[in-house]
């Protein structure tokens, strides 16, 4: 049984909340990109909003948008979050250290539970079925999507809301600064992919998708969502080739490839050049100069792929190499050094 993406919504550092590719990207000289946030008061009822942390606001607002766009109301919720509710996790850690421990507000503790968002979505939209949260860094979205596909296949669900979310965290920014993970100097995000220096720029985002066992008019099929622990034991190219075989596809079937190039002089080519060569005639698209790097960032590429399959033109600012074919089958590949991920979508 096939799975179809029947609605999508993306909150990102670009103006994607409107639902179409922005004509011009937002550019800034920075070490990180933050979401172009809507006025949450217009979207989330005040009684829910008052205790919400940043990530909960991002996620709940985007979930509302995605559910509103969907012809079918989801009966299940699956959220993938790479690092989870880091903001209030930090706040409660800090409160515990600073004390007095006897006088702590429980709210940041409640909000630090990584499944709080999935629970809040269930409460806000009264979705009482299956409710799951994957906390798995770069594989979180892919685990969530494959769980959704399995739910639909089992007939447990007719429509599942899948979300991918990570928030900017000053602590993560500081901690993961080892091993030249982040840029040391601010860079214009549109120049990022020249990859002149080591490191990426950090980002954040929330992407939501309603996945149904019945197609809508757009007929966009979610074919595969796979991830693999990357201990350097198996070559990426072989893994991707084997996956294509498994799904009865050949390299020629892939019209467009989204790569997770993040502007890192040290790893971009080793992570992506081999995969790009596997699809010599495909259009190659990139997105981390628009969103920054975060664990569930492949949701940005998935949203873009859905827009392309819905008939929108891939903007030049996201095109690394233009192919000649109309995109019918799109492969997304991301490699964050500990995990490799592939998502495949196609026009049915």
């Amino acid at each position: 049984m096939a799975s179809y993406i029947i609605s999508s919504a993306l909150l990102s550092p670009q103006k994607t909340f409107e639902g179409t590719f922005p004509e011009e990207p937002i550019t800034t000289e920075s070490l990180y990109l933050l979401c172009a946030e809507p006025d949450y008061k217009q979207i989330i009822p005040p009684v829910r909003l008052r205790r919400m942390s940043h990530i909960l606001k991002m996620g709940l607002a985007t979930s509302y948008l995605c559910i509103n766009e969907s012809k079918v109301k989801p009966d299940s919720v699956i959220v993938g979050t790479g690092q989870g509710c880091t903001g209030d996790l930090e706040n409660f850690m800090r409160a515990c250290s600073e004390g007095p421990e006897e006088l702590l507000s429980p709210i940041p503790f409640i909000n630090s539970g990584h499944n709080t968002l999935a629970g809040q979505i269930a409460m806000a939209s009264q979705i009482k079925g299956y409710n799951m949260t994957y906390l798995q860094e770069a594989a979180s979205l892919e685990s969530a999507l494959s769980d959704a596909m399995l739910l639909l296949e089992e007939g447990t669900s007719e429509c599942t809301l899948v979300g991918a979310i990570d928030e900017f965290s000053a602590l993560s920014f500081k901690i993961f600064d080892r091993d030249q993970y982040w840029r040391k100097e601010a860079v214009n995000n549109l120049d990022l992919l020249k990859a002149e220096k080591p490191g990426a720029i950090m980002g954040e985002g929330a992407g939501f998708f309603c996945i149904s066992n019945r197609p809508d008019r757009q007929n966009i099929e979610l074919v595969a969502s796979e991830s693999k622990m990357n201990f350097g034991t198996e070559a990426s190219v072989k893994w991707v080739t084997d996956l294509l075989n498994q799904y009865n596809l050949t390299t020629n079937d892939i019209d467009m490839l989204f790569v997770g190039r993040k502007g890192d002089l040290l790893t971009d080519d080793t992570s992506y050049a081999g995969i790009e060569q596997l699809f010599p005639t495909a259009t190659i698209a990139a997105y981390k100069h628009l969103s920054g790097e975060f664990p569930t960032v492949q949701s940005v590429a998935l949203w873009m792929a859905v827009k392309v399959l819905s008939g929108q033109q891939l903007p030049d600012y996201a095109t690394l190499k233009a192919g000649t074919r109309t995109a019918k089958t799109i492969l997304l590949y991301n490699n964050d050094l500990s995990t490799e991920n592939v998502i495949i979508v196609r026009k049915g």
């Binding site: 005040p46 009684v47 909003l49 008052r50 205790r51 006088l103 702590l104 507000s105 429980p106 709210i107 409640i110």
Partner: protein
Amino acid sequence: MTQEELIEQLKDQIIKALSLEDITPADIDADAPLFGEGLGLDSIDAIELILLLEKEYGIKVEDPRQRREILASVRTMAKFIEDNGKA
């Protein structure tokens, strides 16, 4: 401080502690129930209000059964502070 002044001060502190951003002190009736229909507060808010009494007024509510009475309205909170605290 008179009870009325204490009530006004409490209203400000409650709005801040519970992040009631869209509510002004004038919106809060000192005699209306805080929980249920009134402001629509819940059990987590009750914990925050007990913390407020302890942090701002140095009063510890030892007996959990007293809570319902103390937190009935802003006025009952003010009375409790007058009876037990340094205000």
